[in-house]
């Protein structure tokens, strides 16, 4: 099995700090706006840092207002845009060929920790029309497609009119339900279009492995949080292997994955997280909510290796959970951050 959740926090510091310091220098040398930002902060070239938490961070918002890239224009292979919904526009993330390959590979390695190396039959809790228009993918479509690599024999749980396709799901389970299979979808869609449907039709999902993401905002009025989500899936459908994940387009390829026992997200070995006090910007102790900073050695074509998100989170512990390193939860968006999220492009809800 791939070993990508192995490093203790001390090993992680020791391994990642030199790489991140090198990355900081690399981006300073190749991304002029980034160099100006760090210069303005009074951080000289060649500065050494005592800890990962001492590295300078960029607010994710910067990728909306600035073209931040560390590769020459003619080497840009792919420009990713986030689903920015209001005024200030979308983030633009520049990948060269190497970075595009690396992000797929690292995402694959991360997910293989819970999926294994074999591609499993895959139930997509989304509409088949999301892949029909190849020229204009939504961010959600891109997410669905990115995940498709990890499965085979893909079946979509919603038809072209965004209606639950119960027969398709039943057919999938009749064919693949007796072996391990993969389920992927955005959290609220999984709840509305898989949980509700499975419960109503007594579907057995006990061999499934669910990977889901997107946040709980749309499920608040149904009083469904992560604990309730896991409990009711287990009780009503037999599905117990559930892994939420947290990630963003500004750090594509890096996902923080929920461990087997639930309710904590873990950092893969090439990543880390810092929870900051929004007033003092100091690190918060365990149990104190703060702003989430995400750290990854993956971004080399743009300066996204240390990012301050617009999300609130809380640290639950260090080296004391399913996997080593820090474990944390996402609590939601910062109050003043504008609404944004991949799954927000789906307005649905009629089937509930």
């Amino acid at each position: 099995m791939t070993a990508l959740f192995e490093l203790s926090q001390a090993q992680r510091e020791a391994t990642l700090l030199p790489q991140l310091t090198e990355l900081t220098e690399h981006h300073r040398a190749h991304c002029e706006p980034y160099e100006r930002i760090l210069g303005a902060l009074g951080i000289e070239r060649g500065r050494q840092f005592g800890a990962i938490a001492d590295l300078p961070w960029l607010p994710v918002r910067m990728f909306k207002n600035h073209d931040l890239k560390s590769v020459p224009d003619d080497e840009v292979f792919k420009v990713l845009t986030s689903s920015g919904t209001t005024g200030s526009g979308a983030s633009r993330i520049y990948l060269d060929k190497e970075a595009a390959g690396a992000q797929t590979r690292q995402l694959g390695a991360t997910l293989q920790t819970v999926l294994g190396g074999k591609r499993l039959p895959m139930l997509m809790v989304d509409t088949v029309s999301i892949i029909k228009n190849r020229r204009s993918f939504s961010a959600r479509g891109a997410g669905v497609l990115g995940m498709a690599t990890f499965g085979r024999n893909h079946v979509y749980a919603l038809d072209e009119n965004d209606q639950p396709d119960v027969e398709a799901v039943k057919g999938f389970l009749a064919k693949h339900g007796n072996e391990p299979f993969l389920i992927f979808g955005f959290t609220f869609m999984v709840w509305l279009y898989l949980y509700e449907v499975a419960k109503e039709h007594n579907l057995d999902l006990s061999n499934g492995i669910l990977i889901h993401s997107g946040g709980w905002k749309k499920l608040i009025d149904r009083a469904v949080d992560n604990t309730e989500f896991r409990r009711r899936f287990a009780e009503d459908t037999g599905l117990t292997r559930i892994h939420n994940y947290y990630g963003m387009i500004e750090q594509i390829g890096t996902v923080f994955l929920e461990g087997p026992s639930g309710n904590s997200l873990y950092c893969p070995d090439f990543a880390d997280v810092v929870i900051r006090n929004p007033e003092t910007w100091e690190e918060q102790p365990i149990g104190e909510p703060g702003v989430i900073e995400v750290i990854s050695t993956l971004p080399r074509s743009y300066p996204g290796h240390v990012l301050l998100t617009e999300d609130l989170g809380v640290l639950h512990g260090i080296d004391d959970g399913d996997w080593p390193g820090k474990r944390f939860s996402v609590l939601g968006r910062l109050p003043r951050a504008e609404a944004r999220g991949c799954s927000d492009t789906f307005s649905g809800g009629q089937a509930a």
Binding site: G108, R119, R152
Partner: protein
């Protein structure tokens, strides 16, 4: 038909290319048809034709016609 000829046919049919298209030198994303959607369709079609199953890493690594042909040879596909 040789493995390469059959693989060539799979490429041409899946991506609806002209019969004389230079498939042997084709790389992932060289043409619009071989994007991420096309890739999934292509992988499925190759698996059907040669009765093999690719692992996740192989799907990610299958970056050209030549790589695909090498993989099939390594897997003992006939």
């Amino acid at each position: 038909m040789s493995l390469n000829d059959r693989l060539r046919t799979v490429f041409i049919e899946t991506m609806q290319l002209d019969a004389d298209f230079d498939v042997e030198n084709l790389k992932y994303r060289d043409i619009e048809e071989w994007d991420s959607v096309g890739h999934m369709a292509l992988v499925a079609a190759i698996e059907d034709e040669f009765d093999v199953q690719f692992d996740t890493d192989q799907v990610i690594d299958m970056s050209s016609f030549k790589v695909a042909a090498d993989m099939l040879n390594d897997m003992g596909a006939k």
